[in-house]
């Protein structure tokens, strides 16, 4: 049993400098404009901004855009400080270059922890302010006035009856000295931040022009698919490629560390060739347990926590054991399945090798790690990575082991010079692991006579995510907080509290899934506290407010707001949950109908406090989407292993997810705040599950403690 009592959250964990020895070698040091249309006449005030003679301002966005809005958000920050006109603003992907484009919360280039806007807030504003100062200096020279006589409005520099656009002054501004530490605006003077500016990428995503990795075609390019082991931990024993090589269009079959790659002239031939492969697998090290067996083992481990060398004591205050002794105990066990992310665009990428260099197009969420892995496989330092738009991620593209980049590089290495596209199919995606970990919670509590909580003893059994990857150094020898974040730092008052983690092992690979630990800890904590309040005869909202005490004003703020918003007068069940994740606060109330014994969610009210709201429309969209994503998993989705270790699910017919007719109406309100902005990509997801489960329990008397609520029957 390990004892660990220091507290940390996901982000503060990430701020600890990431030590990634194998990633340090190559960082894709391409000149940062060489992936963009070449133009010798553009003004480049700094690494983030280009001003063209046609008066367009392009912001190079260091974060991948897969729907969460950084192209619009970061561009807004620059436009605000430049006093630009929104119509002249453009966004483009910054190249992979950790020195210029590191996530300041991560110490490497990458996107995660709902940190894109938060870490960029001052950086992008300073970049915009610096460009503005140079434009003003250039205008003052041209107009023959002092700088303080120049005003800037909607992309025009004005003094008296003289005026010039950014584009007209770009060349002259380039001759000015960039200020070291330009002043940024007082938030009271914001004109763009806080408004519903139209998103910069909407049009191209409505007419088919947006370019994703799958849309990249290079001259002479082959398409490759890889046959992966059907069981986790299995490897290739032997290959019969005779039939595959007979398929018209198939060019090559090669064994790579990840499986067997089939290369063809087109996608159809590659898939047909893969289907014709005869492969024997060595399953001696493979996972052969069924997930049912794993649930039993995980449950036993959670209940017996404290007895194994693989158990960690994460937090302990007061004497829980004594408080539970002889008390009337409330106990609940919650079971959460493995979950696949299933972004709309499965993993894919294009790589082109030539003369000791590699050019790569992929929806890279962790550019520094991906470039490092590709470089290591190929043994070359010159790797140029183009970060493409990606068809969703929800965590799937943020790979601590850079497994897709490594596979892409292996495919290229086995092929040699030229271009190859590697595509995973939906079946590869769903059967391919990197799941939200299967997790079991066991919580015991004792109530005092007045309904306050005397003891809260929480045990979680789950596999780690960081451990065993290059990100492990971030844990500094401590436990993997991805397994219990959200159950730690319990916000509800309790006289004694203990949190323990039973570290489970399996060859089944795990990964963060939208909101990471909060995807299950919020469900367990918010359902359990709701049961305790019901047992004590207390109102779910007033009861929570009392337990939150005086130290959690922002949780209380969203809870009070959502209670005001919700119309709970219908003949339905109503449930509430409030969750802090990634430094944002979200409360939700769900209206749930009993449709023949299964819940149907009709309406959801959502209040969010994410500090300064840079683009309220994007925030509302992220809450709507986060609710849909969370609800989809809670109601319908699970990955299960049959006896022997094969994954049962293959595609969206066996791994059902939410469709339009199942989506509730959603109403979102944003708390006005002067605090620095915090994330919105993930925080909408955790509260919806417990809000729905609490509504269901209060309506039917049945607690939902095993997810999904509506599983697909096993054939």
């Amino acid at each position: 049993m390990n004892i660990h009592t220091s507290r940390r959250s996901f982000l503060t964990g990430l701020i600890v400098a990431v030590t990634l020895p194998r990633l340090a070698r190559a960082q894709g040091r391409a000149g940062y404009f060489d992936q963009l249309p070449a133009s010798g006449t553009e003004w480049v005030p700094n690494a983030f901004i280009r001003v063209a003679p046609d008066n367009t301002v392009t912001v190079l966005v260091k974060h991948i855009e897969f729907g969460q809005g950084p192209y619009t958000g970061l561009t807004t920050l620059v436009a605000e400080e430049m006093d630009a006109d929104w119509s002249q603003m453009r966004a483009a992907a910054a190249p992979a270059d950790v020195e210029k484009y590191a996530n300041l919360a991560l110490g490497m280039q990458g996107t995660g922890g709902s940190s894109s806007l938060a870490n960029s807030f001052m950086q992008m504003r300073k970049a915009g302010a610096a460009a503005r100062a140079m434009l003003v200096a250039a205008a003052a020279e041209r107009f023959g006035v002092s700088a303080d006589q120049v005003t800037v409005e909607k992309g025009m520099l004005i003094s008296g009856d003289q005026s010039a656009s950014f584009g007209e002054l770009a060349e002259a501004a380039a001759m000015q000295t960039a200020p070291d530490d330009p002043a940024v605006k007082d938030p009271a003077d914001f004109t763009l931040i806080g408004t519903d500016l139209p998103k910069v990428d909407t049009k191209a995503k409505t007419n088919g022009q947006a370019q994703f990795s799958l849309d990249v075609y290079r001259d002479g390019m082959l398409t490759a698919v890889v046959a992966h082991p059907p069981k986790f931990g299995a490897t290739v024993a032997s290959i019969d490629d005779n039939a595959a090589m007979q398929v018209a269009g198939v060019r090559k079959v090669a064994k790579i560390p990840q499986g067997v790659a089939v290369y063809a002239d087109n996608t159809h031939a590659a898939l047909k060739g893969r289907a014709a492969l005869g492969i024997e697998w060595d399953e001696s090290a493979a996972e052969t347990r069924s997930s049912e067996q794993m649930v039993e083992e995980w449950t036993a481990a959670a209940k017996a926590v404290g007895n194994s060398a693989k158990d960690w004591e994460v937090e302990a205050t007061g004497d829980v054991d004594q408080a539970l002794t002889g008390a009337e105990m409330v106990e609940a066990t919650y079971v959460f399945p493995y979950l696949a992310h299933t972004p709309m665009e499965p993993l894919d990428g294009v790589i082109e090798l030539r003369d000791g260099e590699a050019e790569v197009w992929m929806g890279s969420q962790m550019q520094t790690g991906d470039v490092g892995a590709i470089s290591a496989v190929l043994g070359i330092d010159n790797v140029r990575l183009h970060t493409m738009l990606a068809g969703g991620s929800f965590g799937r593209r943020a790979q601590p082991d850079a497994h897709f980049g490594a596979e892409l590089a292996e495919v290229a290495k086995a092929h040699g010079p030229g271009a190859v596209k590697l595509m995973w199919t939906r079946e590869d995606d769903i059967k391919g692991g990197y799941y939200r970990p299967l997790t079991v919670h066991n919580i015991k509590a004792a109530l005092n006579a007045d309904g306050t909580i005397a003891a809260w003893d929480h045990a979680i059994a789950a596999q780690p995510i960081f451990m065993g990857t290059p990100f492990e150094g971030m844990l500094q020898g401590g436990p993997d907080f991805s397994a219990f974040e959200g159950a730690s730092e319990l916000r509800y008052a309790t006289a004694s509290h203990r949190l323990r983690w039973a570290q489970m092992e399996s060859p089944v690979s795990t990964l963060w899934w939208r909101s990471v630990g909060h995807s299950h800890t919020a469900f367990a904590v918010e359902c359990f506290v709701d049961e305790l309040l019901e047992k004590a005869g207390k109102d779910p909202i007033e009861g929570r407010l009392a337990l939150l005490g005086d130290d959690h004003p922002r949780e209380k703020g969203v809870l009070q707001r959502v209670a005001e918003m919700a119309d709970m007068s219908g003949d339905y069940g109503y449930g509430v949950a409030v969750v802090k994740s990634f430094d944002s606060y979200v409360a939700q109330i769900a209206e749930v109908e009993d449709r023949g014994g299964v819940p149907h969610v009709r309406r959801v009210w959502c209040a969010v406090d994410c500090g300064i709201a840079v683009n309220p429309n994007v925030i509302r969209a992220q809450m709507e989407g986060g609710i849909g994503y969370g609800l989809s998993a809670v109601l319908y989705s699970e990955i299960t292993l049959e006896e022997g270790g094969l994954v049962r699910q293959a595609n969206w017919d066996s791994y059902p997810i939410m469709r339009i007719q199942q989506m509730p109406a959603v109403e979102v309100e944003i708390i006005r705040s002067a605090e620095p902005p915090t994330g919105v990509g993930e925080p909408g997801t955790p509260p919806i599950g417990p809000a729905v489960a609490n509504a269901w329990r209060r309506m039917t008397g049945k607690a939902l403690r095993r997810l999904p609520v509506i599983p697909v029957p096993v054939a």
């Binding site: 897969f66 729907g67 969460q68 809005g69 139209p198 998103k199 990428d201 909407t202 191209a204 995503k205 409505t206 007419n207 088919g208 022009q209 947006a210 370019q211 994703f212 799958l214 849309d215 075609y217 398409t223 018209a248 269009g249 087109n266 996608t267 159809h268 031939a269 047909k272 972004p343 709309m344 665009e345 499965p346 738009l389 990606a390 068809g391 969703g392 991620s393 929800f394 595509m423 199919t425 939906r426 429309n617 969209a621 709507e624 989407g625 609710i627 849909g628 994503y629 989809s632 595609n651 969206w652 017919d653 997810i657 939410m658 469709r659 339009i660 007719q661 989506m663 109406a665 959603v666």
Partner: protein, 153 residues
Amino acid sequence: MTITFTVNGEERSVDVDPDTPLLWVLRDELRLTGTKFGCGIAQCGACTVHLNGVPRRSCVTPISTVDGSQITTIEGVSGAEAEAVQAAWTAIDVPQCGYCQSGQVMSATALLQMVANPSDDDIDNAMAGNICRCATYVRIRQAIHDAARTLEG
């Protein structure tokens, strides 16, 4: 095998394996990349095109079956309904990642071509085959209603 059909008003001939799904002919041969691959088994609708005016999942449509047909993709979709749908999509910023949206726009356009003022049930029926993993469903529904109102004038 040579197959000839019309794509976005232009006659095209391809010489490919007759089993090849229309999706991969559009993408790999004709480089019309707006039509997306999501599942390959007609579960998600990301590959939706109009085949002789009717929405069709191109990922399960063998190219041999479209000889002589009229195909419209997101790159070529036009007319009052398509314009109203794309304008409504843009006005309320429906897309998030955007990958499914070509298919959503094609299905929504076909719905409005068939039903002038669709009810929520009509929308559910017409759009249930189009998955959006970002769950932009609230806005898809609103945008279809908005587009219908625009078309009514």
